[in-house]
Symmetry: C2
Subunit: 193 residues, 2 copies
């Protein structure tokens, strides 16, 4: 973390905090404590990032390497990200405290502007054996994979280099039409992305 | 609002608060005070929704129409949404206080997992004259339109029935590949969605 720029850190806080919100909703929708605990771990990481950013920003300001305005903008953006991470933890907490969501409320959250989905990649799926970057899954279907289960291993916030294997479980979010497309691709019915 | 169910209200808080975060980032990236002010207006709306939800939840609980657990889950989810809305307002505040973002920081935020973009729909674009629902823009390109400018009118969080006209400016967010696709469609170079 020592060598990261303040811009890199504020961006990491932004991306991680937004991923946390998505993971937290997935955890309550699929009653999944493993994902909910990951939100807690990420909150610890965001806390460290936030403290590092505050220190680096003030150091750069005192060394005249940042203006007062730039420092203010950085501190405010980071504080907002930290607040979003806290909110995500609050959501994950609903899952961890064994407050099982009422089915009507679950249905309602699933049907928001962006739907959440969970699919298993079958062995005859064209997704199997390819990377997310190669598939361009997000731009071709609108569905962003937020977490994956590979056997008993979990991966959160996968990137372009992440390979999908047959048997993997994908947790994703995106538009309703995209969900149908992704389900078809994962179960092998749809052969073209 | 009187006839909305508690599930509808909590969903509206979720959707509006997430839209607010996206609008807030767009406002600072494109130095747009109109969008930043909309974030403020939406924060007022979310406050009203939150207060209504609290009252309705406690009324239903006292009438034995909700369990203690369901009430707790509703109150916590709504509180988390309200917190995200506050964070969005904090981000919009950076724009409204004339703290112009340093170009390096702008570039860095634009290059997050999901990029933000702004495109004008040319008259020879295949998007012109069609609704978002007909185009399936989100699932075909991965790009979600978060705001549109039509002449001097603005629309935030458009839905499937929203029609795109030539000359409209779209503010959208999504994966990098999706941005290229959307730009090609909007400027008329790409004829197939």
């Amino acid at each position: 973390m020592k060598n990261k720029s303040v811009e890199d850190i504020v961006l990491e806080i932004k991306d991680k905090s937004e991923l946390m919100v998505d993971l937290a909703y997935s955890s309550i929708l699929y009653d999944n404590k493993i994902i909910a605990k990951e939100v807690y771990d990420l909150e610890d990481l965001v806390d460290v990032l936030y403290q590092t950013l505050q220190k680096k920003t003030l150091e750069k300001l005192s060394n005249k390497k940042l203006s007062v305005n730039d420092s203010l903008a950085l501190l405010r953006l980071a504080a907002a990200g930290e607040q979003i991470a806290d909110a995500a933890q609050e959501i994950a907490d609903v899952e961890l405290r064994d407050v099982e969501l009422h089915p009507i409320l679950k249905m309602s959250i699933r049907e928001s502007d962006q739907v959440f989905t969970k699919v298993e990649v079958k062995s005859n799926s064209i997704l199997a054996g390819k990377t997310l970057g190669k598939l361009k899954l997000a731009s071709e279907t609108g569905m962003m994979v937020i977490a994956m289960r590979h056997g008993d291993k979990w991966l959160y916030g996968p990137n372009k280099k992440t390979k999908i294997d047959a048997g993997d479980i994908l947790f994703a979010k995106g538009p309703e039409d995209g969900e149908k497309h992704l389900i078809g691709l994962a179960n092998g019915d749809t052969k073209e992305i």
